[in-house]
Amino acid sequence: MSEALASPADRPFVPVHARGERLEPAFHYACAAAATALFGAMIGLCIMLAWGGWPSISTFGIGFFTSTVWNPVTDIYGGASPILGTLITSAIALALALPLAFCTAVFLVEFCPNPLRRPIGIAVELLAGIPSIVYGMWGLFVFAPLFAQYIETPLMSWAPPGSIWERLFTGIPNGSGILTASIILAIMILPYIAATLRELFLSIPVRVRESAYGIGCTPLEVVWSVTLPYVRRSAIGAVMLGLGRALGETMAVTFVIGNSHRLPRGLFDSGSTISSIIANEFAEATSPMHMSALLELGFVLFLITFVVLALARALLGHGHSA
């Protein structure tokens, strides 16, 4: 055996090229091309929306953002109500979901009895995986009737005439509207935020939390003065990620917001968001200007979500997938 390996000159075979070596550049380029394709998709998305929306942008100018007229017959479009609707529903959804998500994450990390920890954690993650159209249907057929009967109607009859409450609760008590959409959105983004926060809390070194407990802190004090400051930056990122979801969510909102082009007068009034109006009208848009106005709305949504998501990613850093 060792004779076979005697000296280089005797070797039966002197390798010059390893097999497949010539394909190396091709593979490398293929990988780089795929990465570039993703980059190009993002750039293309931005450019195409702006380009498609250009007729509307150049016709209506800045007035697009202040006008609430949306009239396919006269071909005059203003995007104020869907833009405002998007911002309002997302803000309310975030305000509702954030405390719940935070408390859920804290419960899972600090208080949950061990045998329940995994099942509940998984349940929360499953909630995040349910397709949004299911939330929309559930909102329309199950939640909205109950909401109209047990919340909207009593509140509207309770609200004293002339008070701030009356203005807030203006609308038609049929279950759809701004607040319903916000609540459904909140239920949707709650698990996202909770799962990300939980992951963040778990990333804190055990010794940090243990030493806080070690000096006699109660769980509340540990969470408030150790856990939260430790992950503050990333936690804000997680919240922004949830906000990004809410801003762009389409189906869950389209079912329950009522789809009117007016500026909503109160929480129970119907309204629209950018994505709901695109979902409802784009496939049937007949005039080029109508389509262009919808694309401009899409461009606006792109800009808003891009800023929010970019901020979220910058705060979170690379490494959180939720």
Binding site: M1, S2, A4, L5, P8, R11, F13, P15, V16, H17, A18, R19, G20, E21
Partner: protein, 278 residues
């Protein structure tokens, strides 16, 4: 290095101990000749002017405290450092007279001649047979029986054949740690290299696996030149014919293992082999 370590009892001939003592390797035994090798990690100068010969069909151990550059030296010998940007080597490393640091050197060719085994065993995620055949298939078009013979030969040379011959098609990840490490040796040997580099190959192994691996190393030197980096002095003493002692990127002492361990000429090597530091 603290100044106090420089204070030594004067040797018998009243001469201060030399800073460096390198025994030349006889010219006809040299397989790899390292000449004025300098190595940089970015701005960090990791190897300073290292010159030594590595003999053929023998085991050369490189020892020294952590961070002395012994692994760096090893990683120059098959240019694996080239994977990482910012790392570069200057000087000459002659393999059978040919400078492997030359830009024109074909790297797969070099690496098929200079095999390497790492500290952590790295079985590929495939069967034991395919692991050993992996390198062979890259370079040679062997027919099935020939390939099987080569795999058996390599596994035998790594003293692993008897243990795995009945489960060649099982995943290599199911082998024990010691077996995995010898599998890596077999995988390197299957390409029929002329030099085998071992980077702390036994540091993650238990004593029994270590003993088996050391036996393997000693028997392999009939076929190839072996360079082993180790922090374990006993191991160097057991397996190697020559020992190089490095310190802070410099080659301090180099000679036959017996001489370096029993009669070190430099103060630092003496301190190190007698366990006074390191």
């Amino acid at each position: 290095m603290p100044a106090s370590a420089e204070v030594q009892t004067p040797p018998l001939d009243e001469q201060p101990p030399p800073q460096q003592f390198v025994e030349p390797v006889p010219q006809d035994e040299v397989k790899v000749s390292i000449r004025n090798l300098n190595f940089f990690y970015g701005q960090t100068h990791a190897l300073l002017d290292v010159s030594m010969g590595i003999p053929n069909k023998a085991v050369t151990a490189i020892v020294g405290p952590s961070g002395c550059g012994k692994s760096t030296l090893l990683r120059v010998l098959n240019r694996i450092y080239g994977l990482y940007p910012g790392q570069r080597a200057e000087g000459e490393v002659l393999l059978d007279g040919q400078n492997i640091l030359d830009r024109k050197v074909h790297l797969p060719w070099l690496r098929s001649r200079v095999g390497m085994v790492f500290q952590q065993s790295t079985p590929f995620p495939m069967s034991t047979f395919d692991n050993v055949a992996f390198g062979v298939r890259l370079y040679e078009n062997l027919r099935k029986p020939e390939l099987a013979a080569r795999v058996e030969e390599s596994l035998r040379s790594a003293a692993l054949w008897e243990e795995v011959k009945d489960k060649l098609d099982r995943s290599a990840l199911s082998l024990s740690g010691g077996q995995q490490q010898r599998l890596c040796v077999a995988r390197s040997m299957a390409v029929r290299p002329e030099v085998l580099l071992l980077d702390e190959p036994a540091s993650a192994l238990d004593p029994i696996s270590t003993a088996k691996l050391e036996d393997t190393i000693v028997s392999l030197k009939r076929e190839v030149a072996i360079v082993i980096v180790t922090h374990n002095l006993q191991q160097a003493a057991r397996v190697s014919d020559r020992t190089a002692f490095m310190f802070l990127g410099r080659l301090i002492e180099y000679g036959t293992t017996e001489r370096v361990f029993n009669n070190p000429r430099t103060a630092r090597a003496a301190d190190y082999v007698t366990g006074r530091f390191g």
